[in-house]
């Protein structure tokens, strides 16, 4: 039994975007977690472990490529963006799993990770704030923005597919 292995792998897989690097990061993270038991200050182990996984992933990503700075898109959307519910519903109905995967992988890391942590791993805003190291208010706005961006990207791709149909 290893606690939270699926959660650790899921986060690493979405951040690294391939199985090989994800496996390496998870292995490394468990080793670090195991050696750092003593520094764990109680509470739920899942956010603690995911923080370690995230740190390992980011240090690898930094070695290989530049990460988009997170602030860039926290700023860009202070105004209210309207999207009709019908539009949102249509995307939800028509987007294939494959398209969704592809679009998620092309989101900036900072957006992808809050979606994974909240919508897939079901962490609370407070836990996400601790894992990512950002204020609670930023979690709220970044998550809303990340979902909107995902939706808009999906719609754009669906529209392109539609136009190319004979």
């Amino acid at each position: 039994m290893l606690p939270h292995l699926d959660a650790a792998y899921n986060l690493a897989r979405w951040l690294m975007r391939n199985e090989h690097d994800a496996r390496d990061c998870v292995q490394d993270a468990y080793l670090r977690a195991f050696q750092a038991f003593g520094r764990f200050r109680g509470g739920d182990g899942k956010p603690w472990l995911l923080t370690i996984v995230r740190n390992v992933c980011y240090s690898r990503l930094r070695q290989s490529l530049a990460i988009e700075p997170a602030n860039a898109f926290d700023e860009e959307l202070h105004g209210v963006v309207d999207q009709s519910a019908e539009d949102a519903e249509r995307v939800r109905r028509e987007a294939s799993l494959e398209l969704l995967h592809q679009t998620m992988e092309e989101l900036p890391e900072a957006m992808r990770e809050v979606i994974v942590l909240h919508d897939l791993e079901e962490l609370s805003y407070k836990e996400i704030a601790a894992v990512v190291g950002i204020p609670l208010g930023t979690v709220m706005s970044r998550l809303a923005r990340a979902r909107l961006r995902l939706q808009q990207e999906l719609r754009r791709r669906l529209d392109v597919t539609e136009e190319t149909k004979p």
């Binding site: 292995l5 650790a8 897989r13 519910a85 949102a88 995307v91």
Partner: protein
């Protein structure tokens, strides 16, 4: 609440992350603002998109085995010594404030020993359950498990089966924790494993109830022996189990 305020809070409202007061204000606003209510629907659709489409990557089956093999080759974390810097800082203060300094230092050191001891138990539990070497004797019969320890350790743990209360005994093993031989009694609760470490006590005092890395730990003393129950089970259920053990009679 105006529309701008309401819309910045819509996502948090749908995620159930708002405090009661602000949540009520959002609901009140949505009840009389069709435009914002429509936005709430759009939010809900976006939110459902990822959640409903089974996008979670499951860990590959062989990854678990790889990690376990790696951990098995790793030394158990050593008991943390008191850092030199800590001593350097504390000693001059103690010299000045002899009484206060000594009390504080001793409390601190005792606290660190406590934590190190707790770590030993959780680490033993994780190694036991993750390496597959969790049982040396497999039996649900306490009359098989108890005699198995005879000759292997020089004390006799109290062994009971609590299958009737849904904590079945599944067996036992020998282990070492905090530098002492331990008789480990293994119980199940649904899919959870409970290890009960029985030692002759002595060494660092342990807190009666503790929680570490998501594992709960309950300890008590009975007939001069120290019992420490460790599990990933919820604290309340592990507490029930500990009471059951303490009330059982041979």
């Amino acid at each position: 609440m105006n529309c701008d305020e309401a819309r910045t809070l819509l996502a948090a409202h749908l995620d159930g992350e708002l405090d009661v007061v602000r949540d009520a204000a959002v609901v009140a606003h949505l009840n009389h603002c069709p435009a914002c209510a429509a936005q709430a629907l759009a939010h809900a659709a976006r939110r459902g998109l990822v959640q409903e489409k089974a996008m979670r990557h499951a860990a590959p089956a062989d990854l678990r085995a790889g990690i376990v093999a790696q951990l098995r080759g790793t030394e158990r974390p050593v008991v943390r010594p008191i850092p030199v810097v800590f001593l350097r800082q504390v000693l001059p203060i103690a010299a000045g404030l002899v009484v206060a300094g000594l009390i504080g230092f001793q409390w601190g050191a005792a606290h660190m020993r406590n934590e190190a001891a707790v770590d030993e138990y959780t680490t033993a539990y994780v190694r036991g359950t993750s390496t597959g070497h969790s049982l040396d004797v497999i039996s649900t019969d306490r009359h098989t498990v108890k005699p198995w320890f005879v000759g292997k350790i020089d004390f006799a743990p109290s062994v009971h089966d609590f299958a009737a209360q849904e904590f079945p005994l599944v067996g036992g093993r020998l282990d070492r924790v905090a530098g002492q031989p331990a008789a480990v009694l293994v119980y199940h609760r649904r899919k959870h494993v409970i290890d009960v470490y029985v030692t002759q006590g002595g060494g660092s005092a342990l807190p009666a109830i503790d929680k570490r890395f998501g594992f709960n730990l309950v300890s008590w003393t009975q007939d001069g022996l120290r019992y420490v129950a460790v599990s990933d089970l919820a604290a309340s259920e592990l507490g029930d189990f500990a009471r059951l053990c303490q009330s059982a009679k041979d």
